[in-house]
Subunit: 447 residues, 4 copies
């Protein structure tokens, strides 16, 4: 299929997306204030100059300091909500005659004007980019001022529609990708830091490495989320060999296993619009098609909540595992314990506790305590193996006493795992993981 | 600026967009019924298999006949609206405490579940295309069954967000465009029919012709709307010389005038999502940049409602122009009147009536009667000239007694014209047009 | 692998290639005559203005009529050969001391200056296109004036290097290809005429049709050679079912056979630079990769020399098959013989003669008489089957009495077939073809 | 103009170009030796398997060590020259009848078989890349073994035709270019070293920086030559401010001057195929079109031969400027002289000597002594200004005592300057430069 006309066609989207909204001082002075501009943008019944006004608003916004921006959000909150009187009438009308039309009218009346504002701001070149950045500002402000939650809700609502996963594009990132994209991979890697360009090249250029990201046509140079993959001969039990600067690459044709060892979000402003599960599934499909020799798709994942949990249990006299946990915690508190001769043996004590952490502990909403676990189990993965002494970096030791785990994506069971997890919170795990529980004192499941 | 990574990146969007939803019989038999599939798509809390279920639903839908499809819309109407009880509670809550949060909750409660269904259906490859086609089906059904209006309202609501003009791309269409795109130009030309590929080539290939269309990244081979442009040395007073098979092209550098002589929508399913005004403005910018010699941007437009209006006036004894109109109508009722020696002279009688039709007659909503006039005046254009005997084709004679008009887009006055029209219904017209009114019996303006 | 930077990079090649050399009258008047311009282009030691002079020369050339162009070729012949004196000296020097350096110097001295001229003309935008067209002019002139053969030899020599098959690109042609490319497919189809755009669409758009062409980066919109392919369930024995306007497409997954039923060259000016064998081999690879279900790659080919040969034998009293041939020729001379009841039966007489034509008759250079046979056999194909009554169009009846044949490309034997043919002229054929010879009177092989 | 089909079309060229020839050990063992493979590639009359054999040869070559490769070149020299006997006959034939046909035959006979070998090797995917690398090997070997000069001459001859400037593409390099391309810019910068990726970004990303390179379609990721440009408000007199890590960028709209401050070749294997002059001319055109505010196009160039020349004159008792030169050389021999208070004043002595160096000194072939001067003057530039203390880096001090110069490209005089230089060796210089000579003892011009 020729995809060429599109290339060019879509290049134009790209150029729109790349356009810069320049702060106001570098443009002709806007003759209207921000509120006047907003009124103008919303009131024009036609759109004689919508794009120009939108660009003026965004440039004015960019020229504001943090306080000024917070002020803009308060304007959105106080003056650009739904029309209170119209909404009251529509609500009453629905209560009186609860038919489809009244529900539709009520939906319209409940739609805040700021939602229309955001949509019209997108007319400016580079508008989507500017709006995502604006939400990042808003989230920062929201931490201090919860009264902006309704404004944020509308941003998220809109982005949820705009960034519909049907519009996202999966692209491989490699050494022939633009430096502008690659510099963001360096900046946003959140799991295992990338130190410099040489380090980056080791992650994406060797034949046994892959990196994939989701992009949106209107944010052309900006990955939304990306995953780093290592092709290996076995399920790995530690991160260091994967990141090693000197290692012999595995010829792709000999690889049997694809290891997802890092997943990172890039856009703060898109918080709440989740792409991760979709990303992994598409990457599995892509890899399976390209490399028919791949048999396993696994993660090598951190356990970010484990150390904190263990400390909590050790300190909680009511917990049935207090004693075991306290003993383990004491051993793990020794300086450089992981370099000592007993380090490997400690696994015998810690791994059963970790199995308990994954399989039996539950949050109030009935989900596993570990955020990474919730992500992969929610996607339909299975907890495959606990890896002792897998990440002895300072961060790894601090968060999880060096523990990592493998989640496995078995295509034949993803749907069933996902449904069981979604409906009943069931954690899919291999028997080897479950068996670890036997080493613990007999207790009742916590959930 | 290198736009290349994007090319490839966006090619992937294109491929998603081009993917075909195949009717069900050609796929593995779906094991679930349409309602069961819809339930599944909406209920999956994660999205273990959203894309596959979405594809199943769309394929099942495609396999239905018209009656089956109407049934599907009724399911959307009856079972996928807002949750009535939740909406009632939220409406009451808002009436009780009309704060921002309650308004937000009410907005959520008023959002029909079918909106979420449509968004999830977009996960299927080719989903956007399929949904636009589905709306075209719905519009056909809606003509017979107005009770589906609420469903249609949700389609339009969603498309309005998805097809935000900030995401659209203007592309020139020429002889090196894909045949798949060009065949749609032939099919959708609604003003001056394109007879075959040779005729098409005459419209887009000569150096003094241009054609531009809007595209959306997710509908890659499908123009949304397009405009045909002729570059000329003067404002044209008739359509035939522009469409003539044999004519000497004007070297672009010598052209002073860009004539928009045809604007056509391509996507029935996007009715109500208007792109036209934005298209013309962008084309004016594009042409002005490419060809600095261009001084005027005008249309050569039909007057589709004129003949019917004239007949109405002639038959309406209460109308102040009855006599004049009746006299004109009689002359225009002669067979082949336009070929006779008095044809040119008839303009003296008819053009003042036409000026009245444009400048003084108003619909109940206070707008000009002519749909094409409303479009261009609403965009900020000015009525520049009435062209007598400009379109003596059967269609032209039938709709407007051969009359055409030029609207002019003067960049310096577009915004003012638009605002005057939007606020007070004022029709911008050159004095030459207004002066024609003097030939009429003195009357009071109709509006 | 990201191929995107390239897209853009190469778009620039495309634009160079698409640039038009405008005839002189539309440019500033060149102030120098053609010979003066040529002298200037060749003499500039640097290249302060090579591209501009080259463009002037090409534009001046384009402004010439046929006689003027012939004059330009005569200038190339008479004044732009090798420097006779320098060549004499170098030839003598080599004869005196036949070493590598002297041979290199002789090579330089023997290089005609027109070769350098052609290379410098390529500096003009659109230069490659213009030079290929210039050669087409030259070939027309050459038919009348053989003294230009040396000039033509240099064009061919240069094109042979420039159009090195390592630089060619195989592209699929389909309904999303540019109309500008497709219109050339219509124009250059040389085997089975394409009547209009609907006919073209039937050749390239259905799922069981493929079309591939070779392109060169500097001739971007211009296919060099293309092949049309039908995917079928069997080796076809006639052309009509393949070209039928109404037929049920074969789902590609069910196809077992790819039929090359038409191969056409597009560029007269590249005569002698053959791409055909390379094209077929690449298409076989491409199809085999895309459609693993394909088992056979065959042609359905005309036999353009058969009728003439048969007439010759029938009239040649010395030929051992005169009587048989004369009898067949008489039957085939009946008007509308192919519609009569004996048509099928005639095959019994004609096919053995055809087998003889392919397997035993040889040209003076020891090759088969049939040009199409020489092409496919030279590529390593095997003569698979003779198809009687396969092409009852007027052209088919006239050239080959309706006979067509299938050549088969068996990947495992291509190299061996090719070598046997190249070294000893051996024609690879299935036993079924060879067995047909038994029906003939016993004779000695002609070769 | 839609350039899109091309994008895709040309992407295929790119992929061919990017393909890797893998060393032999990683492929099926070639069953034939290198000489046998070469014989096979050259002897196949058709091309049943040309591409495969070519790939085998290149892979075998890549598997060789330096000695093995040298052996391959000797095979080319000894066994793949022109056929000596055929050449002798053709040379004699030409001497006997020196007509066009005989000259053509002689040209053919003088064409070494290794030229055909190189052309056929290009059939392998990635062949062009491999051949350019092979020439780099050859050049290294040639330094030790001049008998390979004839082989090298054929490589250059072929590359001269393949890399015809009509096939080259000028592309801007910026921060959205592929990292694979950018890493080569870092590697090949030959004038002012790029230290790391941050340094690179400072050269190509700020709005007042530009970088352009020539590419060839068959070498897709590999720049052939590139130039770095700074946009400034004045002609710069020193390099440090241009390379400074902290500086305020000049808004492009305010720039009046484009400064070419570094030109570097990337492909050793293309030595002798010069692109530089063409590159600068195209960049001037491109910049003039993009930035109409630019008035001057100048270089800031090193003077690599100046220090050596000065030392030579100081030591040459016969030179008319010995005394002046010796005095200057002594002052410049002081450690850290450029930091001392007399540094600026020294210019009064040194600059006249430099003017003499540029304007009056000539090589035996009558050209200026300085290689950089020959390049720019040969392109039609004018020597605009001598910049004292312009490059006080160790390299700058060593090569030119810190001197740099500006050459100016004045579009109106390029052709005249070039011709005067080409015909009579005239050095174009501003009067200010010439006037410096007055400070010197009166002498006769050296040329």
């Amino acid at each position: 299929m020729n995809t060429s006309f599109l290339n060019e066609l879509l290049t134009a989207v790209a150029e729109r997306g790349r356009a810069l909204i320049e702060p106001r001082r570098e443009r002709r002075a806007a003759t209207r204030t921000l509120p006047a501009l907003i009124t103008a943008l919303l009131s024009e019944r036609g759109e004689a100059s919508g794009a120009a006004i939108a660009a003026d608003i965004l440039a004015t916004y960019l020229g504001l300091d943090a306080e000024g921006r917070a002020g803009a959000f308060r304007v959105m909150r106080d003056q650009l909500g739904a029309d209170a009187e119209a909404l009251r009438v529509a609500a009453q009308a629905y209560l009186d005659t609860p038919y489809d039309t009244a529900a539709g009218d009520l939906h319209d009346a409940a739609t805040p004007r700021r939602l229309e504002l955001l949509r019209r701001l997108n007319l400016a070149p580079g508008g989507t980019r500017a709006l995502v950045d604006m939400r990042a500002d808003l989230l920062a402000e929201l931490a201090a001022d919860r009264s902006l939650a309704g404004v944020d809700r509308d941003f998220e609502r809109l982005f949820d529609v705009w960034f519909n996963r049907g519009f996202l594009v999966l692209r491989r990132i490699d050494w022939s990708s633009p430096a502008s994209v690659l510099s963001q991979i360096i900046a946003y890697e959140a799991v295992h830091e990338i130190h410099d360009w040489d380090d980056l090249r080791r992650r994406i250029d060797p034949p046994d490495r892959r990196c994939y990201a989701f992009f949106h046509p209107a944010l052309v140079d900006e990955p939304l989320i990306f995953v780093e993959v290592a092709l290996t001969r076995d399920i790995p039990g530690a991160i260091a060999p994967i990141l090693a600067a000197t290692r012999e690459p595995v010829p792709p044709a000999e690889a049997t296993t694809a290891v997802f060892y890092s997943i990172s979000n890039c856009q703060v402003g898109l918080r709440g619009v989740s792409f991760g599960s979709f990303l992994l599934k598409q990457v599995v499909e892509e890899l399976a098609r390209d490399l028919p020799g791949l048999k396993s798709f696994v993660t090598l994942s951190p356990v970010p909540g484990f150390a904190a949990w263990l400390a909590g249990v050790a300190a909680d006299a009511d917990h049935p595992l207090t004693a075991t946990a306290a003993q383990a915690a004491a051993a793990l508190a020794e300086p450089d314990w992981h370099l000592g001769p007993e380090a490997a043996g400690l696994g015998k004590t810690v791994l059963p506790l970790a199995a308990h952490y994954f399989l039996r502990e539950r949050s109030r909403s009935g989900r596993p305590l570990d955020a990474v676990a919730r992500f992969h189990l929610g996607n339909g993965a299975r907890l495959e193996r606990l890896d002792w002494l897998a990440d002895p970096t300072p961060k790894g030791l601090e968060q999880s006493h060096g523990l990592m785990v493998n989640y496995i994506y078995e295509r034949s069971e993803i749907e069933a795992n996902h449904e069981a997890y979604a409906h009943s919170g069931k954690v899919a795990a291999t028997p080897a993981v479950s068996r670890l529980l036997r080493a613990l004192p007999s207790i009742q499941p916590a959930a």
